[in-house]
Homo-oligomer: 214 residues x 2
Amino acid sequence: MPYLNRAVPDPEPMDCRILTAGLTLFVENGYHNVSVHDVQRKANVSIGSIYKHFGGKEGIAKKLYYHLLNEIDELINQAIKDKTTIREKSEEIIRLIFTYTETERNIIAFIFQPNHQDFLPDEPPICSASPFRRLREIIREGMDDGEIREMSTEVAASAIFGVAIRMVQLRLDGIVENPLPTYLDEVFDACWNGILINNDESINQETEDLVAQL
Amino acid sequence: MPYLNRAVPDPEPMDCRILTAGLTLFVENGYHNVSVHDVQRKANVSIGSIYKHFGGKEGIAKKLYYHLLNEIDELINQAIKDKTTIREKSEEIIRLIFTYTETERNIIAFIFQPNHQDFLPDEPPICSASPFRRLREIIREGMDDGEIREMSTEVAASAIFGVAIRMVQLRLDGIVENPLPTYLDEVFDACWNGILINNDESINQETEDLVAQL
DNA sequence: TTGACAAAAATGAACATTCATTCTATAAAT
DNA sequence: ATTTATAGAATGAATGTTCATTTTTGTCAA
């Protein structure tokens, strides 16, 4: 069983083995390019067991999806519970996502890469799932508290977490070559302060003007 | 044939009809949930014609993919050719993407939603395709010219276009409720100036401190 | 500890279905 | 007349699913 919080039990029980095999294969080949037989072979279990435990291929995907969303949910809630400012909270969340992109690639790839509605047609889009809603809530709080400028929640959330998510996708696709944590400060700086050339000069200019007036 | 630049010819020739039908079905149901027969039925052509023209299902997808990437490429090059600053260029590009998300939903969805390697396994990831590379080049120029702060190209590109792309995805998933162009200024402002609360106060504070020292 | 029995779990061959592709026949164009 | 384009029934490989059988696990009496 692929965990973000707990350690994987040893020996891994059958249903965990099936989920682990499914995750790996789905990420490597894409859900639709993986047959139940592939999973069965990789997990070293029989076809029957898969149908007994999960009712079929979609059952595996669904269980994985719920489980991993829940893992991420717990992770986020745990990470921000003793942070006070939105800045600290979002920085910690991005740090976690970046770290796990390196250490638990498959889990992050399964959540961030595919269009889940392709294989879980009855699920709402992942952006409306709990952890993603949570991100927007955090941003919302930040605006209510005056820590963040007033703007649409979606725009603000995209401006912070959208950048991070984009970096994750670029990393998973091999465009970004260094481990993501390397970029943490840069990403965060770009989100909060914008990407304009540092406006120290303009500030100094304003100051000089003001002093001259005195 | 789904075009961004040209008008669709009328009557639509057979290969165009096939591509249009494919695009619609792929976006609505996901590539793997569409059979060649579905496309054939929707396009009002025979199975044979599809194999004659495209060699099969993957041929349709590949042709669509190349064609649409090319359309976007042309669009971008055309849009920025008489803009001078990076700011103007990127603003125009985002404006175009936002506009077409509303008017040519299927095209934008086909390019931005799926993980193309699921059905075009021999293609490099879309982020390394021409239009996306182009976006990073533009940002790179901006840094070389001193218009943008010095940072990793990928971070800067994510900070500008990643936010826009995220907004597109949220819009396609129905999370964002208003037409994207509504958010243009907000998005752009957030990218360039960051999302911090307007730092006029801190500037004033600095100025006052300085004045006090004199 | 051993052996008998029942319940639960696991197995995998067999089955059913879907679907990409082929191929031959027909129509249209040159 | 010959080439080219279109049609669609037929094919068969791939793959999701079932179920009768086997194996394992747990329980309890001797």
